[in-house]
């Protein structure tokens, strides 16, 4: 099924809930409202001519560093139809305050860990998720690292870090690296 037809089928069924669509680079993309996400997924899975049986991926994009953006995040769901050899990308806009979307784990159990990862990395919460915990990072970690405003090297160590260098060699390294270490706010070696 060609991407254009795919989008047309979904538009016919959901009408205004489809906020936008494109087929750039051959992948059918629809943007839907959060309320209709589950229904779109259900439709894509069960409709005999679509049969998107395989949920490939759930991820998100932080749009805040793009030149123009309306909502802070965008949830991206990739579906694959094995029979029709087609890909469907469903995107959902997610606001900045209280980022929240319905979970699709009821329809695609595979979404479980992917959604946990999105929660972990972006702080987007999923309504109806059976087990929303951090998955890649640890509970002591503050913040969500894939948000664009998270500095890439802000660390939350779990064990106290010791002085790295043995005395005697330290002074030489201090000369070369000391300034660098101080710039980055690390304790002096």
């Amino acid at each position: 099924m060609a991407p254009e037809e795919l989008i047309e089928t979904i538009r016919e069924r959901f009408g205004d809930a489809v906020l936008g669509s494109h087929t750039a680079h051959g992948d059918a993309t629809v943007v839907v409202t959060p309320e209709e996400l589950r229904n779109v997924c259900q439709f894509a899975r069960d409709e005999p001519q679509l049969r998107f049986e395989l949920l490939l991926d759930v991820t998100a994009v932080d749009l805040s560093k793009l030149p123009e953006w309306e909502t802070r995040f965008e949830l991206v769901v990739h579906l694959r139809s094995i029979e029709n050899v087609a890909i469907l990308r469903i995107k959902v806009p997610v606001g900045e305050e209280d980022p929240r979307v319905p979970s699709v784990t009821k329809i695609y159990p595979a979404a479980n860990w992917f959604e946990r990862e999105v929660y972990d990395m972006f702080g987007i919460e999923f309504d109806g998720h059976p087990d929303l915990r951090r998955i890649l990072l640890y509970d002591e970690f503050e913040g969500h690292p894939l948000r664009k405003d998270y500095p890439f090297d802000r660390q939350h160590p779990l064990v106290p870090l010791r002085e790295a260098w043995t005395p005697g060699i330290a002074w030489k390294l201090e000369e070369r690296w000391g300034q660098y270490a101080r710039d980055r706010g690390e304790p002096p070696a």
Partner: protein, 160 residues
């Protein structure tokens, strides 16, 4: 002959010799370097020639802790605990760039070198180090083990 420490130095020599050729390793394998670690242990490079082929997955029975691969902050308490569980004398080898310095994963998740957590005896450079470099590191470790009878950390670097 007996008062000048001849016996004790000879004993130290014997003990150093035995430790040198009987390095039971605890492979703390996490990442890519593990593949090269496997290669080193297997037929082509055969780490067993040096008497270091017996992996003991119990830290109590291991002599040298091979930290192979990236250590993230989430994993660091585990590594620290494994190190604390090991019995003296013990040595630590930082295997590869990530274990030595954090490598190019200079970000929120990674410990920038395991020497921020543990004392390290040998750093083996490379991302991942070639098996030849690993064997070189092992030989350097053996030299270090033979030289003293208790394990204390220093900084020995090997080219890789």
């Amino acid at each position: 002959m007996f008062d000048g420490g001849f016996l004790t130095t000879q004993l130290d020599k014997v003990i150093g010799w035995s430790r040198k050729y009987s390095l039971f390793q605890y492979p703390f394998v996490t990442a890519c370097c593990g593949m090269e670690f496997m290669s080193t242990a297997c037929s082509h490079y055969d780490i067993s020639r040096f008497g270091a082929e017996i992996p003991r997955f119990s830290p109590r029975q291991a002599d040298v802790l091979f930290v192979v691969g990236t250590i993230s902050h989430k994993l660091s308490p585990v590594l620290k605990r494994v190190y604390d569980q090991m019995c003296n004398p013990k040595w630590v080898v930082a295997f590869g760039a990530c274990a030595s310095t954090g490598g190019f994963y200079d970000n929120y998740a990674t410990v920038m070198g395991i020497d921020r957590i543990l004392p390290v005896d040998i750093y083996i450079a490379g991302c991942p180090p070639r098996p030849e470099a690993v064997l070189d590191g092992l030989l350097q470790l053996q030299a270090k083990v033979e030289g003293r009878t208790t394990g204390e950390s220093g900084l020995v670097q090997t080219s890789g």
